[in-house]
Amino acid sequence: MSGMFPLTLNQVVVRRRGKVVIGPVDLTVDQGGPLIVMGPNGSGKTTLLRVMHGVERINAGAINWAQEHPEKHAFVFQSPIIMRRSVFENLAYPLRLLRRPKNEISDAVNHWITRIGLENKGATSASRLSGGERQKLALARALIRKPDVLFLDEPCANLDGRATREIEALLQETAAAGTRLIMSTHDMGQARRLAQEIVFMLGGKVHETGDAQVAFTQPKTAEFAAFQRGDIVT
């Protein structure tokens, strides 16, 4: 793994139309297994991920990677952004941007097409895929540059059980291969299956962090305990 970590957020604030969306946030993320960001809707999970990825403008504070390699992190959005191209070209796009040689691109694309089970659909317009296939395609496209860190914003929020299981299997393989996953979800089951570390967001602030096993069994705050029980937390 590269020396991108640790990532530190120092007093980061994001405002939109004058209202604070997140912050001030202080957070240090070091190397490790899957980090799951949890919290109720509107607690700022998505914004936090976008800030870390560098696609959200921050209004105050600072964000620092030990080493910055923008092409070494990737992002999977909650509703996948599918380009108006074939499946093959969707996957090839991130590599074409890097001007990789043609045969390298087609090798990588064919590898991923097989891996996500779209063997016969390389030439198909990606807009014809089902919801689960689209999300798998978006995931493969994010992974095709072999990122060191992969952000995922509730990637299974709109998917059925089977597609969710396929995505989770892919994520576990990815994590095992050494890519750091930073993923938001409000599905407690998914969090338990994947998490090694958790961040619990509430009201735009980081409310609780820590090792997943510890946090799930002995939450430090009453709010996270309530959230785990399925109570409504605000």
Binding site: V55, F77, I81, Y93, L97, A123, S127
Partner: protein
Amino acid sequence: MACRFCFWVFLSRFRLVFFVKKLNLCLSGSKGKCGTFMFELIEGLKAAFRLVITFDPELWEISLRSLRVTLTALLIASLIAMPLGTYLAVQRFRYRRFVIAIINALMGLPPVVVGLIVYILLSRSGPFGVFNLLFTPTAMIIAQVVIITPLIASIAHQAMRELWAEYHDLLISLNTTKTQRIRTLIWDGRRNLLTAALAGFGRAIGEVGAIMIVGGNIDNVTRVLTTAIALETGKGDFALALGLGFVLIGIAVVVNIAIHALSRTEREGRW
């Protein structure tokens, strides 16, 4: 209610019979009995048919010249307008709104005014007179480029804005450069851009005011379909003018179909 309905059926039937009778009179070539409108229209169709099936050499020449001038103007205008429209969709800068407003306003510029301005610029007594471009096809191309560039840019901007909203997060996330973003949007939005180009083509091929002024409608040099139509109308030869008009419509239809067919064979289906 029922009765009123019967009445309308009766009346419309009566009209249809009347119309068919009229049509027959017209086709048999008696002008007085069928009314001027129908007569001229049918004479125009006949003239168009005659011109096309006899491969009238002059018609071929001016039709090809029309196509050549307009397609060249379209190519140049597209090369300017499409990147411009896309740039305006992608890039935020201080006077962006102002530039968009100007482009939209220029769309409404009367072609005659464009023609006059280009005439003044290209006249031998004007600033670019030394190039001796007035009354040449090049002058007509310049005028058409000026007329259709704002139109194509505006439609392209509209389409690219929607596509940019769709792609924004992904392209930012992939850390693309400005140029890469514009190229991606142009490529993936090419069907919408084709629509913009066809709108520009339609406006350019049917344009007469500007190219009459800067081209001069010189026989064998700058006479195109539209200026020939204006000429024949001036001579009172409505049948020939209409015939040329039908040929113009035919060419526009063929070009539209051809371009759509080309873009469809490129890859399967629509998105």
